[in-house]
């Protein structure tokens, strides 16, 4: 199995072609991705994960399934751990399962999933279906997707955690929805993770949610780092400012990711992609140095003015 996996990884590396991500890339190959501890256990988590929204929903298309598996191979090769998905993402879960099987279930995998059903009584069955799609003995993290029926689902998830069926419990939201209720759950429930939208332009969570996560010892996963490509489309027409060289950002996606990662409350950001060169570029953004507070403000202002 190991030989097969090595051959597959070599194949994907060769197949990806020449990558031109700049000089930081060469340095990154000799450095490891930065990790942060999960607050509730201290388990180290690489700061860049892999999202699957849209990108991994490829149905039963054999060519696209193999492309997703190649992305996963490059992700693990670069030191990645967290892959995030949801029952809402249609075929993304079976696609992750396909990739994991093809790669021989890399031991460093951290499975981040969600429960997404309006009936609390359906939660257990959906989580079991999710686990079966992934083909893993147990899921690491299960989050209540967009706070849907969160009272009932959290009850189920805490019980599963107590029984050792999952390791962590979390809640998610996106694009600033239901933040007040989100804060209330954070303040009153013993959750391990939250997942929110945060990027160089969407900074609302900095005011209350990220400080609360820090205070309560809750891990933070960041979704929509590129506003689903819109941010990249916005900035890529402009030159990368020379003053970000000190953070070793050599591309716009790295600039955008480093802004997010540099917030001290962030545990992991989960950009999604269908391309091997992009996943490597994203992973390289997880290697320091990262901008300090003054530079972060400058980065945000700069993008806001574009």
């Amino acid at each position: 199995m190991a030989a097969t996996r090595r051959a597959f990884l070599q194949g994907t590396i060769a197949g990806a072609g020449a990558l031109v991500i700049g000089s930081a890339r060469a340095k990154s190959q000799t450095q490891s991705i930065t990790t942060r501890p999960i607050p509730s256990t201290g388990d180290q988590m690489p700061v860049v994960g892999l999202g699957t929204w849209i990108t991994f929903n490829v149905g039963n298309d054999p060519e696209l399934l193999d492309e997703c598996a190649a992305v996963m191979a490059a992700f693990f090769e670069a030191g990645g751990r967290m892959i995030d998905s949801s029952p809402m993402y249609a075929s993304s879960q079976p696609t992750v399962g396909y990739g994991l099987k093809k790669l021989g279930y890399p031991p460093q995998l951290f499975s981040a999933e969600k429960v997404w059903t309006s009936r609390g009584s359906n939660g257990s069955a959906q989580i079991e279906q999710t686990r079966a799609y992934w083909g893993v003995p147990r899921l690491d993290l299960v989050q209540v997707h967009n706070l849907l029926a969160w009272e009932e689902h959290l009850e189920t998830l805490f019980a599963m955690k107590a029984e050792g069926k999952i390791r962590y419990v979390g809640i998610t939201t996106s694009e600033g929805r239901r933040h007040r209720e989100f804060e209330r759950v954070m303040a009153t429930q013993p959750i391990d993770f939250i997942q929110v939208t945060y990027n160089v332009l969407d900074r609302e969570v900095e005011a209350r949610i990220l400080p609360l996560a820090k205070e309560r010892g809750i891990g933070v996963i960041i979704n929509r780092p590129f506003r689903q490509k819109d941010l990249i489309r916005l900035v890529e027409r402009h030159p990368l400012p020379s003053w970000v060289a000190e953070t070793r950002s050599s591309t716009w996606p790295q600039f955008l990711l480093k802004f997010i990662i540099s917030h001290p409350a962030v545990t992991c950001v989960v950009p999604a992609t269908t391309r091997v060169d992009h996943v490597r570029e994203n992973m390289a953004a997880g290697i320091g140095p990262f901008p300090d507070e003054a530079l972060r403000q400058r980065m945000s202002e700069y993008v806001r003015q574009l």
């Binding site: 849209i54 990108t55 039963n60 298309d61 809402m88 694009e175």
Partner: protein, 220 residues
Amino acid sequence: MSEWWTYSLSDLLLFSPRVYYRLFELHNHELWPAHLLSVAVGLAILYALLRPTIRRLRLVLAAFGVIWIWVAFAFFWQRYATINWAAVYVAPVFVVQGVMLLGTAAFGPVTSAAPEAKLIRFSGAALFALALFAYPVIAPFMGRTSSAAEVFGIAPDPTSLATLAVLAISPSRLRWLLMVIPLAWIAISTLTLLAMDAPEVWIAPVLAITTLVVSRPRDR
């Protein structure tokens, strides 16, 4: 879905344009040579529309009934549902439309068009011919492979447009009822293409509106 008004159209799109178009490629690849049969049926329908008799029109409606049920099963249930969980809810609606068409074919008040409706008849036949022959050409015309062509009787959009064309020239007032589901599907499909920024987004709604215009005069 809470706070549904905060979601944009693109937030509701579960797949990329590439995956969507490859869906038709895979579907065509798997069903070939069923396309030949669908074109043959289409030509027979076109003949029946140009030289209508009551028996022929009943057969046309029956053929459409079978086609809608087939598209429900083969496209929505087996294919589209792999990338869009909402497709499993659309499939039964297509079955309902198929059953309604079969019911109209068997028991509905079908009458041959009056001679003065010749212009309407030819307009409807022309719209049907567009759905049959022109719609599959959109994919290569937009720079995609011709194997991703959307074909009448195989894909839902040309099937819906062809159905609307036939209903437009039907003298029966039942046609308005039978048009609801095809129009609803064209609306959903248009929103999907809009969310994908697809350049062909305008084609299906323009054809659908044209069929409504053709259909309208006889109610005066």
